[in-house]
């Protein structure tokens, strides 16, 4: 039984959370004891617009299986407009990743406010579930034909 447990796929998931809404939402999920799998590791950024596509690809390059970006709801950005830019950038980037054949579910953007601890936890549970169903990230890790 313990062997089977060890075999269970534990994905590596990087979550970029904006300091003002989503990181606070994650804190609220924590103080409300709303659990989600330990596979998720959060990186604090000032705003979702700080997330460079380079970071996302770097994570995949280094073996991440999923990357999620959380920011304030549109209209509620602490810096007024940051999440709008993030939204366009990520929309285009995700569309391109889909275009090159990377599974759609590996990347996600979710708007989580400081008051939405429940949503944060639910989102992370859902995302981990999705990544587990997709399995290990092989497509982004290695593109070149081997031989």
């Amino acid at each position: 039984m313990s062997i089977k447990e060890n075999e269970e796929f534990r994905p590596k998931i990087v979550a970029f959370c904006c300091n003002w809404c989503s990181y606070a939402g994650a804190d609220l999920a924590g103080s409300s004891r709303l659990g989600y799998p330990a596979d998720v590791k959060i990186i604090r950024v000032p705003c979702s617009c700080r997330v460079n596509p380079m970071f996302i690809l770097r994570a995949f390059e280094k073996g991440a299986d999923g990357v999620i970006i959380c920011g304030c709801h549109p209209g509620d950005c602490h810096y007024s407009t940051g999440n709008y830019y993030a939204r366009r950038r990520m929309t285009l980037l995700f569309s391109l990743l889909d275009y090159v054949g990377v599974e759609k579910g590996r990347t996600r953007v979710e708007w989580v406010s400081a008051a939405e601890g429940v949503k944060f936890s639910a989102t992370m549970n859902e995302f981990v579930e999705k990544i587990r169903s997709l399995g290990k990230n092989v497509r982004l890790e290695d593109l070149r034909c081997r031989n």
Binding site: P53, E61, R88, Y99, G101, E141, D142, L143, C145
Partner: protein, 321 residues
């Protein structure tokens, strides 16, 4: 071409311009290359024909730093790139004297060779003054012919139009060459299953040798120092540790020029491995048009670029496409 050369001579002579940026004949009949001409004497090598595909606008970044004006020959599609460079303050309009040269479609020697035409000695029918209907090719194995359209670069079949976006004067006639839909190729890939898409790009990108030709020729890729050459992201170019890096390079490169790429097609033209790199840029262009409304980089210097713009109701990432 004679009209063009004599006009250039006149402008050099009356000191309107100090130098000329054009194309010089190469060692083969089909490989002219970009060159500066400073004297009438230099101009004997000047050439402008169907093989002059190179986009000269990027050279104007350096030319803008030189004393005096530079005359630059820009094809219709090159003028979009020039405009985009103006928008980004990379070239100085005052330092440029733009002759908008006519275009009847640019030729791809590989397409001619692919038809089994080898041992090429000379080619006629590629002259800019010609009808651009048929190419007569004198080879070591006798004379061969080839339809002009069949020898054209992919980008000319989906030409944005033969109107110059910016110029001081226009010399020479153009001929409409568009006979395809710009986004057909992209749509074809979009319709593939994820596995097929992956296989397609894996096959293409595996050919990449990281020679940086695409980057060097791209008028949008004009950073003083590329992120892949600097230590800003710990991403300095080096021996590939993992093969992921090609993909990273091409995706990031496409992302960096998204909303700025005019779709001039130079990246694909110069790739020694024949990777259809324009398919990345065109995907972004297609998405931008679909998500945020039609946008052509370089058409309007004052328009807000799609990635520096937003609306409250923009679609959400992952929603479409």
């Amino acid at each position: 071409m004679q009209e063009l050369i004599s006009r250039i001579k006149a402008l050099l002579a009356d000191k309107t311009v100090d130098r000329v940026l054009g194309w010089k004949a190469g060692d083969m009949p089909y490989n002219p290359e970009p060159a500066y001409f400073e004297t009438e004497e230099d101009l004997k090598d000047f050439v402008y024909d169907g093989f002059c595909g190179a986009n000269l606008s990027k050279y104007m970044i350096e030319a803008s730093k030189l004393e005096g004006k530079t005359l630059v020959c820009l094809k219709p599609c090159d003028t979009y790139s020039f405009n985009q460079l103006i928008k980004e303050h990379r070239v100085d309009r005052e330092k440029a004297y733009i002759i908008g040269v006519g275009c009847k479609g640019k030729l791809d020697i590989d397409k001619i060779k692919a038809q089994g035409i080898k041992g090429i000695k000379s080619i006629s029918g590629a002259e800019i003054d010609g009808a651009a209907d048929t190419l007569k090719i004198d080879t070591m194995y006798g004379e061969k012919t080839c339809s002009y359209a069949d020898a054209m670069l992919e980008r000319c079949h989906v030409c944005k139009g033969k109107e110059h976006m910016i110029y001081d004067e226009i010399i020479g006639e153009s001929k409409d060459t568009a006979d395809g839909n710009r986004f057909d190729e992209v749509a074809k890939i979009e319709a593939m299953s994820p596995e097929e898409k992956f296989a397609f790009f894996q096959k293409e990108l595996s050919k990449c040798i990281r020679c940086n030709a695409c980057r060097n020729v791209c008028p949008a890729c004009s950073c003083r120092k590329c992120v892949f050459d600097s230590n800003k992201f710990d991403s300095a170019q080096k021996a590939n540790v993992v093969s992921f890096e090609e993909k990273m390079f091409h995706i990031i490169r496409a992302f960096h020029v998204a909303g700025r790429c005019t779709d001039c097609g130079e990246c694909s033209r110069v790739c020694p491995q024949g990777i259809p790199l324009h398919l990345f840029n065109r995907k972004f262009i297609k998405d931008i048009n679909a998500f945020y409304g039609d946008y052509q980089a370089g058409a309007d210097v004052d328009a807000k670029a799609p990635l520096t713009n937003f609306t409250f109701d923009d679609i959400e990432p992952g929603e479409r496409g």
